[in-house]
Amino acid sequence: VASPRCGLLIYDQASANSRWLAVALALAVTLVLASTYANLARPFGLPLWATLLARRRLDAYARRDALKTAWPDWEQAVRTELLRYGDATPDDLRSVAGPFRRYALRRYAKTYAPVQTLEAHPGRLRLLTGDRLRRWHAGWASAGRELGTRPGLTSGERAAVDVLAAVLVEALGLTLGPTRDFEAVRAYLVEVPALRLKLPPKFPLVFVAYPQPGARTVQMLVDAVDVLRETGYFALVVPLEPPVRQLDVAAELRQAVDRSPHVQDFIVLSQDDVLDILIARHPAQGLAQCILAQVDLTVVSPFVISGPVPETMFFGREAEVKMLVENASIADFAVVGNRKIGKTSLLQRARARLDAGGRVKPLMVDCQTVRDAAGFFTTFRAQTGLELPAATPEGLAAALTDLRQDGLPLVSLLDEVDALLAAEKARGEPLAATWRALAQAGVCHFVFCGSTGLARRLDDPRSVFFNFPQPLPLGYLSPETARLVLIQPLETLGITLEDATTLLDEVLALTSGHPNFIQYLGRGLVQAANLRKERRILLADLAALRSSTDFTDYYLKTVWGEAGPLERLITMVVPPDGFRLRELEAALEAHGVEVSDEALDTGLKLLRIYAILQKHERTYTFVPRAFPQILHSTQEVDRLITYEKRRLAGGGV
C-alpha cells in the first residue's frame, strides 16, 4: 500500500475519479443551466446570469409577455396558499419555479396590499384576517359536509351556518337581526353599513343548502326573503357547497336567478366571493364590487333627485351644519332657499348630529301637511310623541317647559313651514308668537326651514318672524364639494370618466354647483353608461344629456323653483351677462310690465334668497351661469313671458 507504484495507482485511481466527478459535476451544472435557461431564462428573455442572480429585478429583465403569461398561475398559487392557511412562504409555492417564488410573493404583496389585509415579512406573506378565514373554512366544511344527503339542515349544520353568518357579518360590519329557517334555507335580517350604493338599510342574508339549485330554489328564496325583508327584495345569497365539488353551485344558482323576475334583487355570493370579502382591506367595497358585478348599474346608482338625500350622499354644507349644531341651544335659525337646494337634507343632517351629540334634544316636525295651529299640534304630537296638555299655544308651551325642566335643552326643527306661516299670518300669528316667547324664555329654540313664505315673513317688519330667527340662506355648493358629489359615488360604482378633468369642468359649468343638478347629471350619466353596458362615462354622454329636453326643462324649472311671476319675468327680460336696476326697469317696461318699486325690490331680494341672482356692488348676475343660455336656446321665451305677465296681472305672487 506504501509502495510508490501502489501510491501511483491510488493516485491514478483518485485522479480518474476526480475527472469523472468533475465531468459529472460539469454535466450537472450544464444541465441545471440548460434547464434554467430553457425553463426560466429563455421564456422570460432573461440573461442566464440574471435568472440566477438578479431575480429581485425580474420585472426589469423579463420579457413582458412571458411574465404576463406566467403571472396568473403564480398569483393563483399565492392566493390559494393565503386563502387556505392565512400565510404563504416560498416553500409553499410548489407550482412556481424556485428562482421566482420570492418574486411572486413580493409582487402579490405589492399588487394586493392596498385592497387585502396583507402583511409582508422577509420570505413570508401573511393575512391579518387569517383567523377569520380559518373560522370560515371550519364553518364551511361543517355546513357542507352532508349537503344533499337529506332535506333541510340539521341543528349542527345550522350552527355551522351561524358561524359563517357571524364571520361574514363581522367582516362587513353588519348587524345580525332575526333568523328564519325554511327547509334548506337559513336567513338572517342584517343591517347594512353606509355604502354609496342604493341599498335598503336592512336586508336578508340567506344561506342555501341545495346541491343542485333551480327554479324551486329561487322560489324558496323568495318565500324566505318575503318574511324577513323590510322593503324591496334585495338579498345576499350564499349557496353552500359539498366537500367534493361536482357542480359550480353558485353559477347554477345565479343562472336560476337570472331566469326569474328577481334578477336584480338576489346577489349570489360564491365561496370565492366571500373569501375575497373576508380578506379585503375594505370588505364593504368588496361587497359593493360583488353586487355591481351582478346587477344593473342603475339599480344601485345612489344618485337621488327626489326628496332628501341619504347620509351617504350628503356632501358639503359643513359650515351650515356646524352653525346649526353648535348654536342650536342658544339661537334660532331660518334655513331659507329654493326648492331642491337641499334644505331638508341639511335639516336631517343637523338633526342626526344633534342626536349623536347628546347635548340637546332635537324635536323634528315636518309641517308639510299643516295648514293651521290645530294641525300643527296634531302633527307635533304625532311626530315627536310628546303629549300636549291642550291643543293650544299654551298647551305647547306647557309641554315644552315640562320637558325642558326634565333634561336637555330643546331644539325644534320645523320643516316646510311656508303654508303654515301663510295661514298663521291671516290669524295674527299666535303660534309664531308662542314660538318666539318659548325661544326668548330659553325653553326651546327653533330651526325653521322653508322657502318663499318663510323668506317673506323674515323680511316683514310687521311679522313676529322679523328679527326672530337668524336667516341662513342656502346656496349652491363649492366647486370642490360639487366634484365630490359626482365623483365619490361613481368611484363606488367602479365607473371611470373619459377625460375626467374636462368632464368635471363641464359639469361644474353646467350646474354651477347646484346639488340637485349634479345628482340629476350623475343619474343620467350612469344610465348612459349602463345602456352601453360599460363602466365608463364619455364626454358624449354629458353632451347628449345636456341637450335633452328633459334636462333643460328640469334645469329651468329647478332654477326658478318657487319664484313667482315677477321674479321669473325678471330672469327672462334681463341681459344674460349682468344688469343694473335701471336696465331691469327699462327691460320690464319694454315688455309692458308695470310694477311698483317696492314689488321690484322684493322680487330682487327673493331672487337672491333663491340663489338665482347675486349682487356685486350695483350689478346683478346669475348664480346658475348656464341659465340664460339654456333659457334662450331652448324656450319660446316670448310665450313664457306672456304666461307670466298673465299670471302677474291675475295677482300671482
Binding site: 322593503t231 333627485i305 327626489s306 326628496g307 331642491k340 296634531t378 318657487e562 310665450r639
Partner: protein
C-alpha cells in the same frame, strides 16, 4: 264581444294590449324595489292608463298588495272625505285589517297608513290613484301634500313602514297643477311617465292580428293596419275604434279596403265621444286659441310651455323632431274643424252679445220630434228656465193658433236667436227638419245634439218606415258635416251640455233667475257632505238611510239635475239605482210616489 275593444279598459290578460313594455317594466321595478320615487302616468283620455294599471297590478307578485282608488266615486269630496275614502279603500284591500279607520286629518291618515302597512305579511302596498280630476282643487292639493309628506318621511324611524308604500297616480290635464309645475306639491317626489302612442309595428300588428282572427288574409289586414296608422298614428283608443269599424264592416259580409278606413275616420270626426270630450275640454281649459299654435307646428318642444303641456295632457299634442305637433292626422283635422266652428261661434257671439246688451232675453228654440224626446225637452226647458238670459221657445207653448203647426213652428224659429236641435231615432212628420233648415236659412246659431247610439231605446221610438229612416240618416249626415255634433246619454246629460254650450255661445256664465229656486256652490257642497256622511254612517251601522239622504236633497230645494248629480256620487251603493228609479221621471223633486218606490225597492 268583438275582437276590438274600445269601451273601457282592457283586461290584464287581453291579447290586444300592445306596447307599454318599457313603462310596465319601469313601474314594476318601482313597485318592487326600494321606493325612490312615486310614479305619475300621464296620458290623455282613452290612452290606456287604466289598462296599464290593471296590467301592472296583475304583473306584481302576490306579496305586493295593490289598492286601486278611483276618485270618480267621490266627486267633489272634501279633504276629509277624500282621506276617509282613501283609508276605507286601503282597509278593504288589506283583508286582515278589520278596523274601519276614522280619519279626520292628514296626521291621522298618515298614522293609519303606517299602521296598515306595518303587518308582517305586507311587504309592499301600491296605491293606484285615478281620476283625481273628480276632486275639487283644494282636496286634491291636500291629498298631494300628504303623499309628499309620506314620501319625504319614509325613512324616518317613527314611520318606517311608510317606506313600503308606493304610489302610482294616473291622469291627464287635471294633474298639471298638482304635479307638473315646479311649485306643484308632487313635483319633487314623482317620476313622470308620459304614455306614448303605439309604435307603427305595434299598431299595425294589433289591427292585423285582430282582422286575421276575423279571417281576413294577413297581407290585407296589414294594409288596413297601415291605413289606420296613417290616420291615428298609434293612438290606442282610435286604433281600436277604427279596427272596430272594420270589424263591423266585415260583419256585413264584405271585405274592407283601405278606402273604408278613410270613411270610418270621417265618421269618427263627425261624432265620436272622445273627440266630443276633447273639444269640450279645449273650451273648458281655454285652449282653443293655443291649439291654433299647435296646428302651425313651429313651436319648440318644451313642457315649460303651459298651454302646450296642457294640450299634451289632454291627449292632443306630442313631440316630433323637437317641435310640438298635433298627435295624429285625425286629431289635426278635428282641431281644424273646431277652430273653424269657433270662428263661426265668435261671430254668433258678437250678434248675441248685442241682444244681451239690450237686456233682452235670448230666445232659444228647441226643435225635436215630440213622442220620443219628451223627457229631453223637459230637462232642457227646466235648465233654460233657470238661465236669466234665455227664453224657451218650443211647441209646448204654441197654444191654439189658426196657422198649421209647421207655419207656427217656422215663425217661432224666425223669432229665435238660437236653435237647438235634438235628434234621436225618429224622423217624425218632417217639421223638425224644416225647422232646422229655416234656422240655417236665417243664419241662426245651431246647437245640435244626437242621442248616443249606446242608449237603449224602446222599439216604439225607433222609426221603421224605410223612406223616413233614409231621410233621418241623410239629415244626420248633413248635421255632422255642418256642425260640431254632441251626443247625449240622458236628458240631464243633454241639459248640462245645452247649458254649457249656451254659456260658451253667450260668452258668460249663465245667470240664475232670482225667482227660481237656486243653490250656491256652498249649499251644494253642504248637501254632498250630508249625503256622504249618511252613507258613511250607514256603512258603520248597517242601517239603510238613503231615503234620509233623498229627503235632505229635497229639503234643500234641489231639482232633478242636482239630485242626479248627487245620485252619481251614491251610485256605488246598489240602492242608488233604486233611488234613481224612485225619483221618477224628470220632474222637479222626489215625489211621494218616488219615495214609496224607493222604500219598496229597499224592502225587496
Amino acid at each position: 264581444m268583438g275582437v276590438f275593444v274600445y269601451r273601457g279598459p282592457l283586461p290584464p290578460d287581453s291579447p290586444l294590449f300592445r306596447g307599454r313594455t318599457a313603462e310596465l317594466a319601469r313601474l314594476i321595478r318601482l313597485c318592487q324595489g326600494e321606493v325612490e320615487a312615486y310614479a305619475i302616468v300621464y296620458g290623455g283620455r282613452q290612452t290606456g292608463k287604466t289598462s296599464l294599471l290593471l296590467r301592472l297590478a296583475a304583473g306584481l307578485p302576490k306579496t305586493v298588495r295593490t289598492c286601486r282608488v278611483d276618485f270618480q266615486w267621490v266627486p267633489g269630496a272634501t279633504t276629509r272625505q277624500v282621506f276617509t275614502y282613501l283609508a276605507r279603500r286601503v282597509a278593504r284591500s288589506l283583508p286582515d285589517l278589520v278596523a274601519a279607520p276614522e280619519v279626520d286629518d292628514a296626521p291621522s291618515l298618515v298614522e293609519f297608513l303606517s299602521e296598515a302597512i306595518d303587518q308582517p305579511e305586507i311587504s309592499r302596498l301600491v296605491l293606484l290613484l285615478e281620476e283625481l280630476g273628480a276632486l275639487p282643487q283644494a282636496s286634491r292639493n291636500d291629498l298631494a301634500h300628504v303623499l309628499r309628506a309620506v314620501f319625504t318621511n319614509r325613512f324616518d324611524p317613527s314611520c318606517r313602514p311608510l317606506a313600503r308604500l308606493m304610489v302610482v297616480i294616473a291622469g291627464g290635464v287635471e294633474l298639471y297643477d298638482l304635479a307638473a309645475t315646479q311649485v306643484s306639491p308632487l313635483q319633487n317626489c314623482c317620476e313622470a311617465m308620459y304614455l306614448p302612442d303605439l309604435s307603427e309595428p305595434e299598431a299595425v300588428g294589433l289591427i292585423a292580428d285582430g282582422l286575421t282572427r276575423l279571417r281576413l288574409p294577413h297581407t290585407e289586414a296589414e294594409a288596413l293596419g297601415e291605413a289606420i296608422y296613417f290616420h291615428v298614428g298609434g293612438h290606442p283608443y282610435l286604433t281600436q275604434r277604427l279596427g272596430g269599424a272594420l270589424e263591423a264592416y266585415l260583419a256585413t259580409g264584405e271585405l274592407p279596403k283601405p278606402a273604408h278606413v278613410d270613411t270610418a275616420a270621417e265618421r269618427l270626426l263627425s261624432g265620436n265621444p272622445l273627440l266630443h270630450h276633447l273639444r269640450r275640454a279645449l273650451i273648458e281649459e281655454d285652449l282653443l286659441g293655443a291649439s291654433k299654435a299647435l296646428l302651425d307646428g313651429n313651436l319648440r318642444f318644451s313642457r315649460l310651455d303651459e298651454d302646450m303641456a296642457r294640450l299634451e295632457l289632454l291627449g292632443l299634442a306630442t313631440e316630433a323632431n323637437g317641435y310640438w305637433k298635433v298627435r295624429n292626422r285625425l286629431l289635426a283635422r278635428a282641431l281644424e274643424d273646431w277652430l273653424a266652428a269657433s270662428r263661426d261661434l265668435d261671430q254668433d257671439h258678437i250678434d248675441l252679445a248685442g241682444t244681451i246688451a239690450r237686456d233682452k232675453p235670448v230666445c232659444v228654440f228647441i226643435s225635436s220630434t215630440w213622442k220620443d224626446l219628451q223627457p229631453e225637452r223637459e230637462a232642457v226647458e227646466d235648465a233654460l228656465h233657470r238661465m236669466q238670459e234665455t227664453a224657451f221657445a218650443g211647441m209646448e207653448y204654441f197654444g191654439s193658433r189658426p196657422e198649421t203647426p209647421r207655419e207656427v213652428s217656422l215663425a217661432e224659429v224666425d223669432r229665435s236667436h238660437v236653435y237647438i236641435g235634438i235628434f234621436a231615432h225618429r224622423y217624425g212628420s218632417g217639421i223638425t227638419e224644416a225647422e232646422y233648415r229655416r234656422a240655417r236659412e236665417r243664419d241662426i246659431p245651431c246647437l245640435i245634439y244626437l242621442k248616443d247610439d249606446s242608449v237603449a231605446v224602446p222599439p216604439a221610438y225607433i222609426g221603421r218606415e224605410p223612406a223616413k229612416v233614409a231621410k233621418l240618416e241623410a239629415l244626420k249626415c248633413e248635421l255632422e258635416v255642418h256642425h260640431t255634433v254632441s251626443t247625449f246619454k240622458s236628458p240631464d246629460h243633454l241639459a248640462t251640455q245645452v247649458v254649457t254650450d249656451l254659456h260658451n255661445l253667450l260668452g258668460s256664465a249663465p245667470t240664475v233667475r232670482e225667482e227660481e229656486p237656486s243653490y250656491t256652490r256652498n249649499k251644494f257642497e253642504e248637501l254632498r257632505d250630508k249625503i256622504l256622511k249618511i252613507i258613511y254612517d250607514h256603512e258603520r251601522t248597517g242601517t239603510p238611510t238613503f231615503i234620509e239622504a233623498s229627503q235632505i236633497a229635497e229639503e234643500l230645494g234641489l231639482t232633478t239635475i242636482e239630485i242626479d248629480e248627487q245620485l252619481e256620487i251614491l251610485e256605488w251603493h246598489q240602492y242608488a239605482k233604486l233611488a234613481k228609479a224612485g225619483a221618477g221621471n224628470h220632474g222637479a223633486r222626489l215625489t211621494p210616489l218616488g219615495k214609496q218606490r224607493v222604500k219598496e225597492g229597499l224592502k225587496s
